[in-house]
């Protein structure tokens, strides 16, 4: 009797994990596709850019680290201080424009089994494969501060990105968590040409060379380690 019970439990476990992968797709379609583009292409006009409610996920498997996805989906915290499109979440204040926090909403959260299934489904979305070169990033042993100089000073990236909570620009995503969130080979490709991924995005192409790109990615790693401490 005991054995049979165990046997049934084992079958149910296997069954639910198989169902899990399928459920991930079902959850994405049912609960996420209103705000996230799961099929592409990226916005090609300003109208489409403005009406985008969440980041494009049709190349999620080429962009995000699975471990981060799985954890974040259970406990989502803000990444873009001024939301998807800053102009929708900013109001003029006495000392200049300020973020209108009342217009920003919390991201829906998933329980662990759903998050696991959705992560698997997201990692299978491999849009824009031609833009990715596997192994494009090799970890540098250069002084990490040269990436810092590039990001903060010489390339003007700090103007739109926070390098620690409360310091930096607000219209783009924070970069002190970028190394935890983003695959290095995606970063190489995006930093070389952001508009190949997102033609209308309000980030400029600063024509970084390969050495600069590597130093900046090394800098992101340093920032993540600092924030984790």
């Amino acid at each position: 009797m005991r054995l049979i019970k165990l046997w049934i439990a084992a079958i149910m476990l296997v069954g639910s994990s198989i169902a899990g992968a399928a459920d991930g797709v079902a959850i994405l379609n049912a609960q996420c596709s209103d705000c996230h583009n799961l099929t592409g292409p990226a916005p090609a006009t300003l109208q489409e850019l403005w009406s985008r409610k969440g980041p494009d996920l049709f190349y999620a498997g080429n962009k995000y680290k699975a471990a981060w996805l799985e954890a974040w989906l259970q406990k989502p915290v803000r990444i873009r201080p001024a939301g998807m499109f800053f102009a929708d979440h900013v109001k003029p204040g006495a000392d200049g424009d300020e973020i209108d926090a009342a217009t920003l909403t919390a991201h829906p959260a998933l329980f662990a089994p759903e998050s696991n299934a959705v992560t698997a489904a997201l990692m299978a979305l491999k849009g824009n494969p031609d833009l990715i070169t596997g192994g494009a990033y090799t970890q540098g042993n250069l002084s990490l501060s040269s990436g810092e100089m590039l990001f903060d000073k010489f390339k003007g990236c700090l103007a739109c990105h926070e390098i620690e909570p409360g310091y930096g620009g607000l219209s783009g995503p924070e970069v002190f968590t970028a190394a935890q969130r983003l695959q290095e080979d995606w970063l190489v490709s995006f930093l070389r040409n952001p508009h190949a991924w997102d033609p209308m995005v309000f980030m400029p192409n600063k024509h970084l060379n390969d050495a600069d790109i590597r130093k900046i990615i090394d800098y992101f790693r340093l920032l993540s380690e600092e924030v984790a401490q």
Binding site: A44, T45, L46, L49, W50, A82, F86, A87, V90, K91, P92, D95, G96, D97, E98, I99, K153, F154, K155, G156, L158, A159, C160, Y167, G168, G169, L170, S171, H195, P199, M200, V201, F202, P204, N205, K206
Partner: protein, 123 residues
């Protein structure tokens, strides 16, 4: 027969137009480009006080300031939008937008800025 021919050619022309309009990147309105690409630093009202300025070492230009804006020629303004601040010996914090905006759109922005400052080069 003639009517059918006319309809067929009309259909051809219409589909050609459709293909053409789908392939040509849209020319966006200057005010819309300004809102999307410029107000994050120059402010929703163009006063130089966008949400990004808090920690910027050089502050963005107040585009409503006629005195400052009349000191620049249209050619310089075109150049600074297309190639960024460094192209006219200004701060790297003013980004280059030539990869997102066409020359036509940048000319539109120059005209838009002239409306915002109610000024022209030298006056």
């Amino acid at each position: 027969m003639k009517i059918i021919k006319v309809i067929v050619t009309e259909l051809c022309v219409a589909s050609l137009l459709l293909v053409w309009s789908m392939e040509a990147p849209a020319v966006e309105k200057a005010a819309d480009n300004y809102r999307t690409y410029c107000t994050q630093c120059h402010g929703l009202q163009g006063n130089g006080k966008g949400i990004n300025v808090r920690d910027m070492s050089v502050q963005p230009r107040d585009h409503s300031d006629a005195q400052e804006m009349s000191a620049r020629s249209d050619d310089d303004i075109f150049k600074v939008i297309k190639e960024g601040g460094v192209a006219i010996n200004k701060s790297v914090l003013m980004p280059p937008w030539g990869d997102v905006l066409s020359d036509e759109e940048i000319h539109g922005l120059v005209a838009h800025l002239r409306e915002m400052c109610q000024c022209s080069y030298g006056k």
